[in-house]
């Protein structure tokens, strides 16, 4: 059975094509303004590269913030369920997931691929990819360089503001005081990591944790989280696709499903 999973995220769109239980291909791109266009484009690319016909795709499931706008999908499921299934497929031993995306961050507790509890951040950008994006801009570095830069710091600056807008001004005032770029970068990474660690501990998660979402690509973040939590994190080869992978897996009809939307 051929299925497609689409994760229409706030910042990036991800698609995974499954042939039975094998990943036949995946794509990641910026969502830009229109969720549907982004998803359609990736679908076409994936089909062309996989040498299959569009009609052979039997079931398409969407997830992510824009999941209900993907009109060519057969069903929409929440990204919490999707990540749980995707991560379980890659790492069956995992008990918890830290997902830090563009718009929100979440902690998911899983048992045999089923969600047993979850926690999402408040409705603000603190503790999300947006925080890193904005503050990296204030440092005049790319988001990836921010993580690399952070690793080279020996004296991380203290960033006290959790608010993205205030943190940006805090970065500017640290620059004005002549603090080294890498120390500010390390301070930013540590600030967001602490926020995520609080959420993780609140959920009682101690070990067997996967780290996924766009922010998991940030090497500085991974190192900082591992240090704070005192464990090694499971990070997939492509941490952004676990939601789309999970949607494609549910579309295979492996799990009993919820009400959907």
């Amino acid at each position: 059975m051929i299925t497609l999973g689409i994760d229409a995220g706030a910042a990036t769109t991800k698609t995974v094509l499954l042939i039975d239980r094998e990943i036949a291909g995946y794509r990641v791109s910026n969502t830009a303004f229109d969720f549907l266009t982004a998803a359609k484009d990736l679908f076409s690319e994936l089909i062309a590269a996989s040498h299959i016909d569009e009609n052979q795709v039997e079931n398409i499931y969407a997830t992510g913030y824009g999941r209900n706008t993907i009109i060519f999908a057969n069903k929409a499921i929440s990204e919490i369920t999707a990540h749980a299934k995707g991560v379980y497929f890659l790492f069956p031993e995992v008990r918890g997931i830290i997902d830090v995306g563009g718009q929100d961050s979440k902690i998911i507790i899983v048992e045999n691929g089923n969600v047993t509890d979850f926690l999402m951040n408040d409705k603000c950008a603190a503790g999300t990819g947006k925080f890193l994006e904005y503050t990296a801009k204030a440092l005049e570095v790319s988001i990836n360089d921010l993580g690399v830069l952070a690793l080279s710091s020996n004296h991380p600056a203290a960033i006290t503001s959790m608010c993205t807008v205030f943190a940006e001004s805090e970065v500017i005032s640290l620059r004005a005081r002549g603090i080294a770029k890498e120390d500010i970068a390390a301070g930013l990474v540590s600030s967001i990591a602490q926020r995520i660690v609080v959420m993780t501990k609140r959920m009682g998660l101690k070990e067997s944790i996967a780290f996924v979402g766009g922010v998991a690509k940030n090497v500085g973040m991974k190192v900082e989280l591992e240090k704070e939590l005192g464990i090694d994190l499971f990070v997939p080869f492509e941490p952004q696709i676990t939601g789309a992978l999970g949607a494609a897996l549910v579309a295979q009809g492996i799990w009993r499903e919820g009400p959907g939307s």
Binding site: Y65, D122, S261
Partner: protein, 382 residues
Amino acid sequence: MPTSLSSLDYFRDSYEVRLAQLNEKRRKGTKIVGTFCLFVPDEIIFAAGADRIVLCGGRTDTIHLAEQYLPRNICPLIKSSFGAIVDACCGGNLSCPHIQLVDVVVAEATCDGKKKMYEILPEYVPTYVLDLPQKPESSEAIDYFLAELRKFGGFMEKLTGNVLTDEVLKREIQSSNETRKLLRRLFDLRKLDPPPILGSEILSVMQKQFFLAPDQFRQGISRLCEELENVIPEPRSGRRIMISGCPMAAGNTKMSDIIEQKGGVTVVEESCTGTRSFWDLVDENRNPWDALAERYLEIPCACMTPNDRRVARIVDLAKQYNVDGVVYYTLQFCHAYNIERLRVQQALKKEKIPMLAIESDYGDSDIEQIGVRIDAFLEMIS
């Protein structure tokens, strides 16, 4: 959406009827009391020959007016209510004109936000504050509250010029108990699986409780119960959800709406706009003042400490209504209910009842974000 229940039309039409009644009563000299909380006993107000409406605001459009006077980071119910009062008193037309029907506000010392707002209220409307003991289980609490209620009775006598006799008070207790029993009957119907009525339909009815006259409200509830008991309505299916937490004042149906749009069905609300208003009866066989003091101090509000009985009530309701999960709903910046979340979560976890905490205001900006959480929660408990 299932076909609508015809008895719900009664409630839709009741507003204008009541508005005319209040204006007429006022013209004839009846005093109208505005309240903000279940802790102020209706029985005392009615027994003194006055009428009452509840002024809690659930609308977002008056909040910016309140923010000219109050801090931004206090709960939306306080800001919405205060904004409506400021607006009405300054000749605005943003809010329903209820405050202009009111001779006096009888406020209560519950949460910090309300208490301090009530200090500003006299600039706009005469205000009386009923004090509440904070530790209701202490031995002195009941005596103190009894004295406060009697003092409040004296205030009402002076306001209306009527004498508040035990006999009339007993009659009003019976009347309020009758309403409570009817609401129990209505809520019992929601124990059916699937329930015959949506939570959002119930909520809109419960919100009317605080504006309509008691007999007018009871008539509607009786009709609704009869319709639900006799006509077989289309069942409202979905995962069974309990909403527990802050009041959902008229204008605010956000949480119920989202849950039911996402395919769940709310079967009980542990809230001031739910069970808290009617669950316990006033003992009709005792001295009416003692009975009132005892019953009202039992209201399981998060402003009381310790509040084990609320935690126990939530677990009990979850079992009685056979819920699949609890949505713990708090208004933004409502410290009492927000902090109490942890103890409720621990108790529910022990009973293996899933819980999702949602904190929100009256705006629409987080509807999608809440939607994601509700989607995931419903998938989780499927």
